[in-house]
Structure formats: C-alpha cells, structure tokens
C-alpha cells in the first residue's frame, strides 16, 4: 500500500514537472514560417561575399489559383563571411531561411578565381545543409543566375538542378556535388564544375544553359574546358552515361557533310599506373558500347566488315576527344583525371615523394589510351546490301 502511494506521488510529480518544461519549446519552427532556399549564388563583393538566395514561395506553389504572385523570392545580401551575409538576409526576408532543401549552389567565376574554400565551409559545416547539392560555376554574376525569372513550370532553381542532372544525356558537361568536390580537393585531383549561363531565349525571357566545365585546382578556378574536352575527361573518369559521337561516313572524305551519329549506352574505364625505370605511366582502357542512332549514308551495315570499320571510326573519335582533353590538362597542369590518385593507390610507398613533385610530374606524364568500341545494334533500320 505504502509502495503504491509512493509510486503515485512520484508519477504525479514527474508528470507535473514535465508539464513545466514542455510548455515552452526551443527550436520550434512551423513550416509556414520557413523560407525554403532552393538555390544559392555566391559572388565576391567589397565587403566579402554577396550571397543571393532563391526562396520558394510555398503558398503559391501549393495553392493553385493565386496567379499574380511570384512563385519565388530572391534575397541578396553582403557580408564578411557567408553566414554573416545569410543572417543579414533576415532583415529583408520575413521568413527564416531554411537550408535543408537547397538543390544548387552557383559560384561566380570571379569568386572562384579568388578561392572557393572560404565560401563553401559554411555549407559543409552547418547542420541544416546536406552535402549532396550540386555545384556550378558561372562566368556571369551568380546573383543574376539566381534571380533570373526563367520560364519554368515550377521555380527556376528546380529547373536549374534538373538541367545539371541532365548532363548524362550528352556527357558534355560536368556534374558534381559538394561532397565529391570536398573529397577531391583534399587530394591532387582538380575538380570539374559545370558552367551555367543565362541566355536570351527568343525575346525577353531568359533561359539557362548548362554546358562545358570549369577546372578548379586547389579550390581555385583555372580555366574552362570545351565541351569535347569535358567529355574526354568524363570518358577517363568512367562517367559517360550516354552521348552522341559523330564521325564521317564510311569511305567519305573528312569534311564530308554526310555523317553518322553513334549513341553511347555504356562506357567503362579502367585506369592503371605503371612504373618503368623510375618513370610513371598511365594506361587508360576504355570500353564503350552503343548503337547507330542516325546514318543516312551507310550501306550494308550488317556486313561484319563494315561494322568493324565503323567501330574503329568511333573508337578513334573517342580517342581524339580524350587526347584533346589530356593535352589541355597537361597544359593547364590540372589533374582532373585523378591520375595522381591512381599512382597513389598502386605505389603507396612512393607517393609521399611524388605528391610534392606532382605538379612537375603531371605535365610530362605519359598516358597510353586504348579504346574498345562496340556497335551492338542499329535500331530499327538494317540496311542490307542493295544496289
């Protein structure tokens, strides 16, 4: 009896105590009061950083019928650090900026030249952001990219992130998220960031264009690659998911207007390091598979001899892209292929020495490229030997 009374009193006191402390609630944030940041742009400013954020107008996006309200807001503020600028935004934004839904981070080229490290630390450290949002560089101002009113069904930032993700259809632009970027910058690898621009799109409305890649070495912008060079790098990195390779027609001259387009389905790259009499060498082995996507000029494509020829032509075209990319890389002295890490893995004991001299070794590094290309089908047309 005594025991149960004691228990009862204990229970009552505990319950009343919990009433006391659960009345107030720290960190309470209602969803209506949050401003969901979808895209961020960072530019340099006189003060330090100019941070622009594109915030979704959730009320409009969820309720249909509110026609005249804009479906996103842009806030941009300067600060000595990124977070300083972000907090300054509370003076202009009625809702507290909420970062968990960030999809894209656009960096102005000018800032990238000065160094990205101070700009990115906030995003890697803060508890709200995820490390898997996408990075992009723009030669224009990041503020303009973020605040552009682009034709879209949802909001511009979502479109931008979709465009960045669509790299896989052409493989002519880079694709990188914050985590991969940070990981690569800890090593000798130079990262490739996609380039985004605003383009005039038939009249007044503007549109995004995502193509090419910017090379970032040791957190600093170095140069842009052309689209072909970008894909050359992606072949070696094994990141080509799909893409169109075009070559001249069989038996035609180099500048002939009749061309064949091959579509790539699958590609796989094996990169190996070799040491020969104190010098390092890289062997790149690429296996590619695809079909004929467009070829008005072919004859007798079922003939294995012709198929072999076409495969060779395709392999040659791929090899050319890679070579162009390699040449650029060695000129710029930026190892965006990650060859340094390949040597690191194969010769861990030598690496400590090599790492310091890597900038001298890389421009003259010998790279052997081997491409195996296959044509698996020719879609719905099979031209037999006619005429």
């Amino acid at each position: 009896m005594k025991c149960s009374r004691f228990r009862k009193s204990l229970l009552i006191s505990l319950l009343s105590f919990s009433c006391l402390i659960s009345a107030g609630c720290w960190n309470r944030r209602e969803i209506e009061t949050l401003g969901f940041v979808i895209a961020v742009g960072i530019d340099p400013s006189q003060k330090g950083f100019l941070v622009s954020t594109q915030v979704a107008n959730t009320a409009v996006l969820t309720k249909q019928g509110v026609m005249n309200a804009p479906n996103f807001f842009v806030y941009s503020d300067a600060g000595k650090t990124v977070f300083d600028a972000v907090r300054t935004a509370t003076h202009s934004s009625p809702n507290k900026l909420f970062w968990s839904h960030t999809k894209v981070l656009v960096v102005g080229e000018e800032l990238a030249r000065k160094g990205l490290k101070p700009a990115l630390d906030f995003f890697a450290r803060d508890a709200e952001e995820r490390r898997n949002f996408l990075l992009a560089v723009t030669p224009q101002r990041a503020k303009d990219i973020v605040s552009a009113d682009v034709k879209t069904t949802t909001i511009p930032a979502v479109t931008l992130s979709e465009l960045l993700e669509a790299y896989k259809y052409s493989s002519q632009t880079a694709y990188i998220n914050l985590n991969d970027y940070l990981r690569e910058q800890h090593t000798t690898i130079s990262s490739l960031l996609p380039e985004v621009r605003l383009v005039k799109d038939q009249g007044e409305k503007v549109g995004y264009k995502v193509y090419r890649a910017a090379v970032i070495k040791k957190n600093k912008f170095v140069s842009y690659l052309t689209r072909k060079e970008t894909r050359g790098a992606l072949w070696v990195l094994g990141k080509v998911k799909s893409g169109i390779m075009d070559t001249k027609c069989l038996g035609k001259s180099k500048n002939s207007k009749e061309r064949i387009a091959f579509e790539t389905y699958k590609s796989d790259a094996k990169v190996k390091a070799q040491k020969k009499s104190g010098k390092y060498m890289i062997n790149v082995n690429i296996k590619e598979q695809g079909n004929i996507a467009e070829a008005s000029c072919t004859k007798n494509e079922v003939d294995p001899k012709n198929v072999k020829k076409m495969e060779k032509m395709k392999a040659k075209a791929i090899k050319k892209e890679i070579k162009a990319s390699l040449k650029k890389a060695q000129e710029l002295n930026t190892d965006f292929f990650g060859f340094g890490e390949v040597i690191h893995r194969s010769y861990p004991k030598d690496w400590e020495k090599i790492e310091k001299q890597w900038d001298e070794i890389f421009p003259t590094l010998k790279v052997k490229i081997k491409v195996e290309s296959k044509i698996t089908s020719d879609a719905l047309i099979e031209r037999n030997q006619q005429k």
């Binding site: 025991c3 505990l14 105590f17 919990s18 402390i21 720290w26 960190n27 968990s100 508890a127 995820r130 490390r131 898997n132 985590n179 940070l182 990981r183 800890h186 090593t187 690191h344 893995r345 194969s346 861990p348 690496w351």
Partner: protein
C-alpha cells in the same frame, strides 16, 4: 512479496541483444576517427578490435561460468575478501556510473548538435535521466524486453541505410591499404576494443540469466554482429566522404545518412538515424545505471536497492553536465592513452587476474 526481492530472469539471447545495443549505440555516433593517424584503414582497425572483443568476452564469460550464481561485485568479494574485493568493486561501480554518464552526455550532445542547436543541453540531460530513472525502477526485465523491440528495428534501419547508400560508394578510396604501416591501425583499434570490452556487463547480469550455458555462444555472436556493423559502417563512411573529410566529420554516420537521395523522393531520412540513436543510447544508459545500482546494493548487502536509483541518477546527471564542455571534448577523451588504458584495465586486466585467482582458489577449496 515485494517486487524488488524477486530475482529478475532474462534469457541469454536478451543479454546478447543488450551487448549489441551497447556496441552499436556509440559506434553510430562517432565512427572512424578513433585516434587513427590514417582513417583510411579504420575498417581494418574495426576487424582487429572485433578480435580483441572476442578475447575479452571469452575471459569475462569464463569467469562468470565459474561463479554462475554470483555477480561481478560478489565475485570480487569472495575472491579477494572484504577490503580489497570491496575496493575493486567500487572501481567497477564507478566505471558503470562513468559509462552511463558519458552516454547521457553523448545523447544530449548529438540531439543538440544535429537537431536542436538552440535548446540548452540541460533539457536533454534532464529528460533522458527521467526516462532512465523510470525504466531502471521497472527493473532488468523491462529494460531487456524494451531492447528486444528497439534493437531489431535499429539493425534493420542501419542495414537499410547501407543499402540505400550503395550507389554513392567509391570503394576505390579504400586503397592503398596500410599506407602508413600497421602501427596507426593497431593504436586505432584500442579504443574500439575498449568499447567491445563493455561485455564486462556480462558477469553483472549473468546470475539472472536462465539458460546460462548458452551465454558464451550468444555473446560471441553479439561481438561478431557488432564487428560486422562497425566494419561495414567504416567502409561506407570512408568510401563516401574520403579518408580526410571523414576524419573531419563530427558525426560521420549522421552525415552519411544525410547523403541518401534516391530519385528525389527517398531523401531526408536522417530522422531514422536519430530514432536509432535515441533508442540505443537510452538502452545503454539504462543498463549501465542498473548495473551500478544493483552492484552497490550487493556491495552494501542491502535488501532493497531501489532507493539508490534516484541518488545514482542525480550523480550521473550532474557529472554528465559538468564533466565535458562539448562533443569534441568527449571525442578527445576517448583517446587510446586516456580512455583506452583506463577502461581496458577494468575490462581486461582485472578480469584476467580474477580468473587466475578463481582458478587457484577453486582448486584449493572447491566452493
């Protein structure tokens, strides 16, 4: 009959579940950094620490098997007499209290760091201690049965997380193996071994186990499952973040879960991870506090020991608040030199001595 006088009964399987929960809870909070100079090889350290865990568990269970009716405190007393035995027992009781208070602080810190940075840390500490007091009052059986519900869910969640991450893994980052030699790998495994050494709980709970002959088998199984998860999580963390960035992360597994994004609809599932933490850390705090309270009761030959729960919890509450300033301080505290030597002495050295002494004593007068 008063409820406190009934001996609790648990099964060997439940005991092993408790061990897994203990190991998993801290492992999922801070993972690969255990003082290794080179965190790339931390998964090898994990495997080595599993071997260490097997040895410690073997010693501890053998000791318990020789004194199947006695708890650790009573074993100390019978083997070394009132004074020396009492002293060793007090060391152990302090250790149990210490582990539980550190765990309380870890619990509060991760909720504070990961979810609610503005909330004062005392609130978390007070809340978890209230919950722990309640469950320790309910006794061992209640705790183990709760764990029987919590642990399978947690294991499934962690496995699910690993499966969802499969596409982001860059396994080539694991190479080269043992770049800086084997020394950092060995030192890196010490703290991890000391966490496996928490199987020192077994002799504390052994007398209450129904099927005692199965304890050896099941607790070895627990160590193996723990090692498996530790290794796989290490591999996942390194191959997603890379060794250097991984060592910089405060809560590597939490950051890992935040990386999950499958086709834009299956993302932001870190709440699962927080749920796993809350469940597992809660069990760990409960069981260590229970062991402390029970042991004190036995040391002082008390018939009722429930009145000890509130004072014990209060000590844990206050010390957990005052011992550390922040999460990184706890991390620093778990260094091989401090925590490693301190806990391995209690978890391995003293049990070994006890085992040797018990071997000779039992031969002499065959108790």
């Amino acid at each position: 009959m008063k409820p406190s006088q009934i001996q609790p009964r648990i099964s060997a399987l439940q005991l092993s579940f408790i061990l897994i929960a203990n190991r998993l809870s801290v492992m999922t909070v801070f993972l690969p950094v255990w003082g290794t100079a080179n965190s790339r090889d931390s998964w090898i350290s994990a495997i080595i620490s599993g071997c260490g865990g097997v040895i410690i568990t073997y010693v501890v269970v053998t000791l318990s098997n020789r004194h199947s009716r006695l708890t650790l405190v009573e074993i100390c007393n019978t083997l070394f007499g009132k004074w020396i035995g009492g002293f060793i027992s007090i060391l152990y009781l302090w250790f149990f209290l210490h582990v539980s208070l550190i765990t309380i602080r870890i619990f509060a810190e991760i909720l504070n760091t990961a979810l609610m940075p503005e909330t004062p840390i005392q609130i978390f500490i007070i809340y978890i201690v209230l919950a722990v007091i309640f469950s320790v009052y309910r006794g061992l059986e209640a705790i183990t049965r709760t764990n029987f519900l919590i642990l399978p869910g947690s294991l499934i969640s962690i496995l699910l997380i690993l499966i969802l991450l499969a596409k982001d893994l860059h396994l080539e980052l694991l190479k080269p193996i043992a770049e800086h030699g084997w020394r950092p790998i060995m030192t890196g495994s010490i703290v991890s071994i000391s966490f496996f050494g928490e199987s020192i709980l077994i002799p504390m709970l052994f007398p209450y186990v129904k099927d005692q002959q199965k304890v050896m088998k099941y607790s070895m199984g627990a160590v193996l499952i723990g090692t498996f998860f530790l290794t796989v999580l290490n591999i996942a963390v390194i191959s997603v973040f890379g060794p250097i960035e991984a060592a910089n992360l405060t809560l590597p597994v939490y950051s890992l879960v935040r990386m999950i994004s499958i086709g834009h609809f299956l993302e932001r599932i870190e709440a699962i991870m927080v749920a796993v933490w809350i469940g597992l850390l809660f069990i760990k705090i409960c069981i260590f506090l229970y062991a402390g309270v029970r042991g004190t009761g036995q040391l002082l030959h008390l018939k009722l020991n429930k009145f000890l729960i509130i004072p014990f919890s209060c000590i844990a509450l206050i010390l957990s608040y005052t011992s550390f300033k922040n999460l990184s301080e706890i991390k620093l505290y778990f260094s091989p030199k401090q925590w490693g030597i301190y806990s391995l002495t209690l978890e391995f050295l003293i049990p070994c001595i006890l085992l040797v002494v018990s071997f000779f004593r039992k031969r002499k007068n065959a108790i």
